[in-house]
């Protein structure tokens, strides 16, 4: 983690002279370097708690001017290294999957005793694996019972379903999963879906007893 202090008193002095301590682009820092940082502004009280010794606590009888510190963290991978969609999905993986699990558990509390299965429909198989793992973890953290089982469809079903619009395809697949016995009456399938290569969010759909509902 990199920490760049920007607005404490010595930093002001330093910034004024040579701009050494400022994460903004300047004489010594290129725009690309600055764009590779995720930053947040912290007031002195929060900053000193989170980074003791690096950010000074506010004086007990402090002045009337609130001081802020810009704290920046370098991204794990530089921009452009991964596909933008993969990058967007993976950088928001935990909050997205947690929100999906919480929505599922809170909207359908009667499914608390069901066995939950997760299917991910994302273009990149490596990203799909990570999304699946994170979603299962999030469901388990919500107190739900999760299975690694994968529901299957026959070749004929797949031929028909893959020609349909996504809005119709997933509900139809849900009907067929239940009708063929691939999903049982005590199973709840949470499908995590990317519908369009231009979007950077994931949709969630729930399939229970052959009935489908979009969650988000």
């Amino acid at each position: 983690m990199s920490l760049f202090i920007d607005s404490d008193a010595p930093a002001q002095f330093e910034a004024a002279l040579f701009n050494l301590n400022d994460p903004a682009p300047g004489a010594l820092r290129r725009k690309g370097w600055s764009n590779n940082l995720e930053c947040e502004r912290l007031d002195a009280r929060t900053g000193s708690r989170r980074y003791p010794g690096e950010i000074r606590a506010p004086a007990s009888r402090g002045g009337d001017v609130e001081s802020y510190t810009v704290v920046c963290e370098e991204r794990l991978l530089r921009p452009g290294l991964r596909d933008p969609v993969d990058d967007a999905l993976l950088s928001e993986l935990e909050p997205m999957t947690t929100a999906l699990a919480e929505t599922s558990a809170s909207r359908y509390p009667e499914l608390g005793a069901s066995t939950w299965l997760v299917e991910v429909f994302v273009a990149n198989p490596q990203v799909a694996t990570k999304v699946s793992f994170a979603t299962k973890n999030a469901l388990m953290e919500s107190g739900l019972q999760v299975s690694d089982r994968t529901p299957t469809l026959g070749v004929g079903d797949l031929e028909v379903i893959t020609r349909m619009q996504p809005e119709d395809a997933y509900p139809t697949a849900c009907v067929r999963w239940f009708a063929t016995g691939s999903l049982g009456p005590n199973d709840a399938l949470l499908a995590v879906i990317s519908l369009d290569p231009r979007e950077t969010i994931l949709h969630g759909g729930l399939c229970v007893a052959g009935r489908w509902a979009w969650l988000q």
């Binding site: 910034a15 002279l17 903004a24 690309g32 600055s34 502004r41 933008p84 949709h203 229970v208």
Partner: protein, 222 residues
Amino acid sequence: MIVVYQPLSGLHRPVAIDPQLPNFTDTRLDVRCIRGTLLNDAQAGVLCDRVETLFTNQGAEVHTYVGEGPLDGDGPVVDAAEIGSGSAAPAEPRTRLLVELRARETDESSHPWSWVLYAASFTVLPGVIESSFEQDIVIRDDTGFLLVSDTLEGRIITRYGLGPWLGNKVLDLTRKKADRLGEDAASKDLSADLYRQLSQDVFNAKMRARVLRPATPVGQAP
């Protein structure tokens, strides 16, 4: 004077959409730009005009509103789309989205030490003023259901003085075009980031609205 822009959070997120393609041919957008600590009414109007151009170029039917008021009223308060923009609206837009934009300045500081040195050095050393801002984006469907809510944060640093101006001029000669800081680079970079993120947020909202349209009644198991 050198103006430098730094995205803090959200503004430089990866974007999958290309704002130069017709991504919203089936969409009607009602865009409301609200004045705040960063934008007055006139500036909010300019923002709305630019956002209108951004989405009209992507094929959307755009109506802009300036100021507060009900989001999903019968018609626009100020309909900039009808003031000669000549947008090619689709005959029957499938999705209607209400976009609310609100910007605020979260901090402004004029580093006092820098101004002492600025004066003492006869402007060879920079006098520095910086400000931070937040841009809120809220997107709802035509029933008022919240689809996307996002906050983008950035900061603007202005360095005054002959020293920084001259130094930057010299350094710009050695920098790649994308890395130059002079002239209106900050404004261009900020606009590019903002419009890319806004396009992505609206597209995400459109897709979310699309799947939620035949929504299951609340409280009913699927």
